[in-house]
């Protein structure tokens, strides 16, 4: 047998990781903590990046990293929507998973220093934003007002509820949550997440917004933020497409002239505004 002398690029080879913890967040959403099998020294990434998670024998999926970049743990919150994510949902502590990454662009947490920061998340879109939220909270004195607005389908679909409550309990962070529909026992807001923007106190001319959620939500949110006086260049969105190779070779995640895996997933809104409005892209 002739061995190939060509080095295997790391970005294409899944590294074995062990599941160290698993938590069921919602009926269809769970979180796993992973540790590299051969070097449990942490995992370096920037807030907003994603990994390709390989469930052996089933397939690979792109999943945003949802843990604290400074904490050294690799954490993924995953929604069980397909064969691979369903397979991942069955993993238990001690099971193995393949990891390629981290890939993609990051939230502009450094560029946002000195500005107000507005986070607007919808549904599981809070997961890719959690590392950015944690970064701002860990470096709170470097930022102006900090606003976190979150929308979910119903009270039972509110992700990271204990953390939202903890963030809300801080005196230096404004957190508001709304759901699309609720029964009368729910004491919180009911209505679309864009309505929360009206009530939030931030300086739209000196703020950076980070948005993640369904594209329709992000479009309406951008409209509300720009109506409030925010520049499109200060609004950043995280896009989701069918990423396969994660390095811009396969073309599955092509989004007009861009590849979401390589050029994104985080884009300045101004760069992709026309694409978001184009039909069939």
């Amino acid at each position: 047998m002739v061995k190939s002398t060509k080095p295997v690029p790391d970005s294409m080879t899944p590294a074995p990781f062990r599941v160290t913890a698993r938590r069921q967040d919602l009926a269809d959403t769970f979180t796993i903590e992973l540790e590299a099998a051969d070097s449990p020294r942490g995992f370096a990434f920037r807030p907003g990046q994603f990994n390709m998670l390989y469930h052996f024998g089933v397939g690979e999926v792109p999943i945003s990293i949802s843990g604290d970049a400074g904490a050294g743990k690799l954490i993924h919150t995953i929604r069980d929507v397909g064969a691979v994510t369903h397979g991942l949902s069955t993993l238990k502590k001690g099971d193995m998973v393949g990891v390629r990454g981290p890939f993609g662009s990051a939230w502009p947490v450094d560029a946002a220093e000195g500005s107000d920061v507005v986070i607007v998340a919808g549904g599981i879109g809070l997961a890719p934003l959690r590392p950015a939220i944690q970064h701002v909270l860990d470096n709170r004195d470097r930022y102006g007002r900090f606003v976190i607005l979150y929308g979910a389908r119903s009270p039972k679909d509110v992700l990271y509820l204990p953390e939202l409550q903890s963030w809300r309990g801080r005196l230096d962070t404004y957190v508001d949550v709304t759901v699309d529909h609720a029964e009368s026992g729910w004491a919180g807001n009911v209505g679309v997440v864009t309505k929360l923007i009206e009530r939030a106190n931030f300086d739209a001319t000196h703020a950076v917004a980070m948005l993640c959620g369904p594209e329709i939500m992000m479009r309406f949110t951008v409209a509300e933020l720009t109506a409030r006086g925010m520049d499109r260049g200060d609004i950043h969105v995280s896009m989701e497409r069918n990423m396969k190779c994660a390095v811009g070779h396969c073309g599955h995640c092509q989004f007009g002239p861009k590849f979401v895996c390589k050029d994104g997933p985080v884009f300045p809104y101004g760069e992709i505004e026309a694409l978001l409005k184009a039909r069939g892209v």
Binding site: V81, G123, G151, R153, E183, S184, K195, E198, E240
Partner: protein, 160 residues
């Protein structure tokens, strides 16, 4: 008893009346009343005569649908600076949902019947008021459509 002058001031403080001509606002304040509701109280029930409409000064209320045999469904919550109730504009002038108070809430209400008479005589005031109501209604409709889209539900697959 609350003086009319006081109510005019309260109306002026509400965003709905931003930039409104003072004479018009004073005319409206003649139909206004200052009200306070505690948590759990109902401002109106579905089917009640819609003889008043409301401006939220502070607090929170829920617009609810009563569903026989089930808990009511909350359609939307409203807070300070918002307005609710336009059934007074549309025959048969009856509330189309319940209004439940979520926390101590201060409202200014306007007498719809009194106002309809004034608007029939003063079309300029009528136009001014409608011009302010329509954008609120349009925004509420747009939000309702977005809620109906179930955008946080399972993502669609290409071609679905």
């Amino acid at each position: 008893m609350v003086k009319v002058e006081g109510l005019d001031k309260l109306l002026a403080e509400h965003p709905f009346f931003d930039g409104m001509n003072e004479d018009m606002r004073k005319t409206l304040s003649g139909c206004a009343r200052n009200e306070r509701f505690g948590p759990g109280e109902f401002v109106a029930h579905e089917g009640d005569p819609a003889d008043r409409f409301y401006f939220v000064r502070a607090g929170a209320i829920a617009l609810e649908f009563h569903v026989p045999g089930c808990n009511p469904i909350v359609l939307e919550t409203l807070h300070g600076g918002e307005v609710f109730g336009w059934s007074w504009l549309v025959p048969p002038y009856a509330w189309t949902y319940d209004i439940r108070v979520l926390e101590l809430t201060r409202l200014i209400s306007l007498d719809g019947a009194c106002l309809r008479k004034k608007l029939n005589k003063d079309h300029e005031l009528g136009f001014e008021l409608y011009s302010r109501f329509v954008p609120v209604m349009a925004k509420r409709l747009s939000s309702a459509r977005l809620q109906l889209s179930d955008m946080y539900g399972r993502p669609c697959k290409k071609g679905e």
